[in-house]
Point group: C2
Chain length 213, copies 2
C-alpha cells in the first residue's frame, strides 16, 4: 500500500486519467460529492491524498506520500527535497513577468530599479531579478496578482500564464519569461531507495505511457 | 473616493452588511454572477477591492485601500503596518492547538520536544511555542491542516477553530488556545492622518453601530 499526493485544482483531472492508464483508479476524487481527503484506489493497492498544490511536495518530502503530482512551478518555488521523476506533459504553462500594456516597458531589465513586483511566487521572482541584477521590492500576494498593477501597488507581476486570458482581460502584457512549467511526478527519495518494486513498476509504466502519449 | 479591501470567503457577507448599515452599498460583490474584483459602491463614493484574506493587510499597508476588513488571526500572522481600528464582533473563532483524540496529550506543554506541528499560521505557532519554551518543528501547510496528524506527518496542529466541526469530523481535540479572533476594521495609517473627514465619518459610524449591535 502506497500513497499518492494529488493537487486539487487544475491538474487533478489529468492526474487521475494518468494513474487510471497505469492501473490505479482514483476517479472517486473527481465525484462532485466527494468530501474525503484520503481516497483508496478501486483496487485497494494505493490511496490518494487530496491536498493543495503547494502541499504536495510537503507530504512527499516527509514521506507521508511516496509519490505525488505537482507543477514544476511549485517545485521551483518551494525547493523541498523530493525526487523529480517524470515530466508528465500536461498542465503546461509558463512563469512570466507582466506589466500594464500602457506602461511601455518591453523587458524585465527595462523596469526601474527598486520598483514593486507582486507575486505568489516570490522565491522564483527573487531569483530571476537577482540573475538580471535588478533590485526590486517584492510584494507577496496570495491570489489575484493582476490587481497589483491595476491598483497601482506594483509596477509588474511575476505569475503563471496558461492561456493568457487573465492578463488580456486585465490589460496586462508579458514582457519576459522565467521558465516553462508542466506537471511532474515526484517521489520521496528514501521510499524510492527502500522500494520493493511496487513504486518502480508504477513509475516505469507512467514513463512509458508519457513517452507514447 | 476611497477604497475598502474586503476578504473573500467567510467574512464577506457580514462585511457587506456592516458597510450597508453605515451607508455604503457593496452588495454587488455578493451576486453569484459577480466576477469583478473592484466594485464601486451604489452611491459611487467608495469602491470595494475583493481580495484573499491574507492580502487585505497588504493592500491596506501599501495604501491601495484606505480601509479593510480582515480577521485578527491574519493581522497576528502577517504583522503588517496597518491601524487596527474597530473590533467588528463578527467572524469570531479562536486559534488552537489540536491533537488526535487518541494521542493522550492534554496540553501543548505536554507535547514531546521537537515534535512536528503543522499550521497555516506558522508565525503565530512559532511565537506560542517559544513562549511556552517548547522547541517544535513547524511544517507549513496551505490547507486541510487536519491531514497533518491523520497522515502521521505531525503530532499537533495550530489552526483556527470556529464551530469545531472539522476537528470532530477528523478525530481531533483542542488542547490549548493561543488567542481569540474576530473581524477587524483596519486602516492605512498615512491615509488616516491625511483624511479630510470622509474616513473618520465612516469609522465613527461603524464604531457606533458595532457598539449598539
Amino acid at each position: 500500500m502506497f500513497t499518492v499526493a494529488l493537487a486539487k485544482g487544475a491538474l487533478l483531472k489529468d492526474s487521475v486519467s494518468m494513474f487510471l492508464r497505469v492501473g490505479l483508479d482514483f476517479s472517486e476524487v473527481l465525484a462532485p460529492s466527494n468530501r474525503q481527503l484520503m481516497v483508496p484506489s478501486a483496487c485497494g493497492k494505493a490511496k490518494a491524498l487530496l491536498v493543495r498544490n503547494g502541499d504536495v511536495p510537503v507530504y512527499v518530502s516527509y514521506g507521508q506520500a511516496q509519490l505525488g503530482v505537482v507543477g514544476y512551478d511549485v517545485l521551483k518555488e518551494h525547493q523541498l527535497p523530493v525526487a523529480n521523476l517524470v515530466d508528465l506533459g500536461f498542465g503546461t504553462c509558463h512563469m512570466s513577468v507582466a506589466v500594464k500594456a500602457t506602461s511601455g516597458y518591453e523587458s524585465a531589465s527595462s523596469l526601474p530599479a527598486n520598483c514593486r513586483v507582486a507575486s505568489k511566487f516570490t522565491n522564483c521572482a527573487r531569483a530571476f531579478f537577482e540573475e538580471i541584477d535588478l533590485p526590486v521590492e517584492l510584494v507577496h500576494l496570495n491570489g489575484s496578482v493582476e490587481l497589483g498593477p491595476i491598483t497601482g501597488m506594483a509596477e509588474a507581476i511575476v505569475d503563471l500564464v496558461a492561456t493568457g486570458r487573465t492578463l488580456r482581460d486585465n490589460g496586462l502584457v508579458e514582457i519576459d519569461e522565467l521558465f516553462h512549467s508542466s506537471a511532474r511526478l515526484v517521489g520521496h527519495p528514501l521510499s524510492l531507495r527502500l522500494d520493493n518494486g511496487d513504486l518502480q513498476k508504477i513509475i516505469e509504466a507512467i514513463q512509458t505511457q508519457t513517452l507514447t502519449n
